[in-house]
């Protein structure tokens, strides 16, 4: 091009400035590829987005996994459609897989690989519309699959779990493999009112962000007090043991000379002591699995954290409950309403009523502050009776 538009010239200057600094540089990486860097530079110069969504490509057997990105300035840079590739459990990838994806990115895309997106899948950007079909066909020949867009189960993600972590109460990778054995149709075909994210963490430290970001979050935990290993406890010095005892937020830990005792009924499984103990205190033997619902970032009512919904005794029950949650969700939610938004509308009690067969327990961390509650005829009779049965006053 002999005479590039003004914004491209300005954009190139901005990109040169962006290449300074020590942190791994994305502009330098992009310039090694065939990605339309000028378009990106121009959007920085104009301070507005130059991509739009739009277009549709029908690929047999791939209802999810394709994101269409159309340029609004074809004179500067071309379209950059993206295909999302599902990653193996625990985010482990082999060199073989990476090399194959690089080959495919060179052949069909712009020679760029996005590893890893914050939704935890690998994306191959810059595939022209007419090549998407061939790309997906070749991807599948190699045993990989695209997915994780649209109103379906988005990529289910896990923390590293038992593969590398001693705190894990749940083999998160195995759990995710089983999840896809059971629910692949829900992940592949968009059948929900809006997207559903399932995230799995092996312990309450929650590296998988199951309590923050997931519509349905599963957290491996245990009941009662954590286990104390007397032998490893001897490696700790006086101050370290004092530090452990004092850091317990509920005061459940008592010190007896050089050993400690933990009162199970006071323990909230926050794992502060476990993390400080260098292996001397470990999660308890009797496991429980916590289900959180309604966490989200996007959506109508803004970001919400998940709410503890059920405590279960086995991972199999957790897999089973996912099905029942999405059944209620499909039935009750309005269009483009995330589970968290739906819960705000229908309320937790109604949701639990709809779920049936869920072990009812007091899961609420916060109680409500408003009094606007539809106390019906049955409640007017039942609530006072229950109160007077408990405290007297008849």
């Amino acid at each position: 091009m002999s005479n590039p538009p003004e914004e491209v010239v300005k954009g190139r200057k901005i990109l040169d400035d962006l290449k300074k600094g020590d942190w791994p540089n994305f502009v330098k990486e992009a310039q090694k590829t065939r990605y339309p860097v000028d378009l990106y530079g121009a959007s920085l110069a104009l301070k507005r987005d130059l991509f739009t969504t739009g277009g549709y490509v029908s690929v047999p057997g791939a209802p999810t996994g394709i994101l269409m990105r159309v340029t609004s300035r074809p004179d500067i840079g071309e379209n950059a459609n993206i295909v999302r590739v599902l990653i193996p459990s625990g985010n482990f990838v082999t060199s073989e897989m990476l090399d194959k994806l690089c080959d495919l990115a060179d052949k069909y895309g712009v020679g760029m690989v996005h590893a890893i997106s914050t939704g935890e899948d690998i994306e191959i950007p810059g595939i022209p519309k007419e090549k998407i079909r061939d790309f997906i066909a070749e991807l599948r020949q190699n045993g990989y699959e695209c997915g994780s867009t649209g109103d379906a189960f988005r990529a289910t993600t896990t923390c590293v779990g038992s593969a590398l972590c001693e705190y894990s109460n749940l083999n998160t990778e195995e759990f995710r493999d089983k999840f896809y054995d059971m629910y692949n149709d829900f992940a592949k075909y968009p059948t929900f009112p809006h997207k559903v994210k399932v995230k799995v963490s092996g312990c309450p430290i929650d590296c998988g962000r199951a309590t923050q970001k997931a519509d349905i979050g599963i957290v491996g935990s245990w009941k009662g007090a954590p286990e104390v290993d007397e032998k490893l406890l001897k490696n700790l010095n006086n101050e370290e043991i004092d530090g452990i005892v004092n850091s317990c937020p509920t005061g459940a830990i008592k010190r007896n000379g050089s050993s400690i005792s933990i009162k199970g009924e006071d323990c909230t499984q926050c794992m502060i002591c476990v993390r400080k103990s260098k292996g001397a205190i470990m999660p308890g033997k009797e496991k429980q699995f916590l289900i959180y619902v309604g966490g989200k970032l996007r959506g109508k009512k803004g970001p919400l954290t998940g709410k503890l919904f059920a405590r279960l005794n086995s991972p199999e029950e957790a897999l089973d409950i996912i099905n029942r949650i999405v059944e209620v969700y499909i039935e009750q939610a309005a269009r483009k309403e995330r589970i968290g938004d739906m819960l705000l509308r229908v309320g937790m009690k109604s949701f639990m009523d709809m779920m049936k067969e869920v072990p009812r327990s007091m899961n609420s961390k916060d109680l409500r502050t408003n009094v606007f509650y539809a106390v019906n005829e049955k409640d007017r009779e039942e609530i006072p009776r229950k109160v007077s049965k408990a405290v007297g006053g008849d």
Partner: protein, 353 residues
């Protein structure tokens, strides 16, 4: 052919940890970015963590080099973490040091864990997204340049994570991290004649505040109308319908800074970030105000917090008033209503429907 992601996971983990899965016993941090794991039989392995480009995008040339490193040192397997870092599992400390040198030669710093910067994440921003109000990758690039020393050289009181998203959809994990930057639109979108191609009912429904109404024109055709006084500028309708656009984003779009999000249940528990600066303009390439504000918050926290206190814990101890006093940031009354909602929002139990 097997549907869904490749399974089972055992085909993808390094062969030398297969026997130790589920049998790990302890771990300790040897140095920033290198962790030693010991299983119940005393076998030792090391994990090496390296930072990545802000938006996780690599050229195939670089990716092939990374893949070759995995083949050379970690049994042909590696992992990408949810916080967009790379992790390699190696058999001994000698390999770990050698791998660290090679990664640093490639330009990827080895660090993280304990009292360090753990992750810098961003969404696609202008790079690939159609809805961005701000360019998250270039902001994170600048913050990475400014805070990179905390990744492996200097220590912080506790873990620090930073994320930026181009719009309130928060695809870049903002609101989950200690310091979150979120793009915002500050103007009311306008309706163009193209709106007739959209699903009017569906578009009207996407509005969280009910500001969009369907209006009948004299000729009988239908269009949409936005009530300006109700609009909060979330941009959901712009995403739903190509006929609704922001007219002058270059003048009005910007980003907000929020702090104090974390997932760990200890201390104050799982929380989302709270907004401390409601609006800053987009100023590529250096975003001087944004970077200065983030650096000020981090430096103040570093100086004032006790060991082990994340930003949320620190603010819980000193209170928001002291926070604004100590950092010298101005307090904006627009943010007040958000400051008292802690963590899990109280759901309306048994609502009226």
């Amino acid at each position: 052919m097997q549907e869904g992601p490749p399974r089972p996971y055992t085909k993808f983990i390094p062969s030398f940890i297969k026997d130790s899965v589920g049998k790990w016993r302890t771990h300790k941090i040897v140095e920033p970015g290198i962790v030693e794991h010991v299983d119940i039989n005393g076998n030792k392995i090391y994990t090496v963590r390296a930072g990545s480009t802000p938006n996780g995008r690599y050229s195939t040339e670089t990716m092939r080099k990374i893949s070759a490193l995995a083949r050379k040192y970690s049994g042909g397997s590696m992992r990408f973490t949810g916080a967009v870092n790379m992790e390699f599992i190696v058999k001994d400390m000698k390999d770990a040091i050698a791998l660290k040198t090679e990664l640093e030669d490639l330009g990827f710093p080895v660090g993280g864990w304990d009292g360090h910067l753990w992750s810098l994440t961003s969404c696609a921003g202008y790079f690939h997204c159609a809805l961005a109000a701000t360019d998250a990758p270039s902001i994170i690039q600048n913050i990475g340049n400014a805070l990179g020393k905390y990744f492996n050289k200097e220590e912080l009181p506790a873990k620090l994570t930073v994320a930026a998203s181009g719009c309130p959809s928060s695809c870049g994990n903002s609101f989950l991290t200690d310091i979150s930057i979120s793009g915002i639109h500050t103007e009311v979108p306008i309706i163009t004649p193209d709106v007739s191609k959209c699903d009017l009912q569906g578009t009207a429904y996407t509005c969280p505040v009910g500001a969009i109404q369907i209006k009948q024109l004299p000729d009988g055709s239908k269009t949409l109308e936005i009530r300006n006084n109700l609009c909060i500028g979330c941009g959901l309708c712009v995403g739903a319908c190509a006929g609704i656009i922001f007219e002058t984003p270059e003048k009005t779009d910007g980003h907000a800074i929020a702090i104090g999000g974390k997932a760990v249940p200890s201390r104050v528990g799982t929380t989302l970030s709270r907004i401390v600066i409601p609006y800053l303009p987009n100023e590529p390439p250096y975003y001087p105000k944004t970077v200065a504000a983030v650096v000020r918050i981090v430096e103040t926290w570093k100086k004032d917090a006790r060991k082990g206190e994340r930003i949320a814990d620190w603010i819980d101890r000193i209170g928001w008033e002291k926070f604004f006093e100590k950092t010298g940031l101005p307090f904006f009354e627009q943010d007040m209503e958000y400051l008292d909602i802690r963590g899990i929002m109280t759901l309306r139990e048994g609502g009226t429907r």
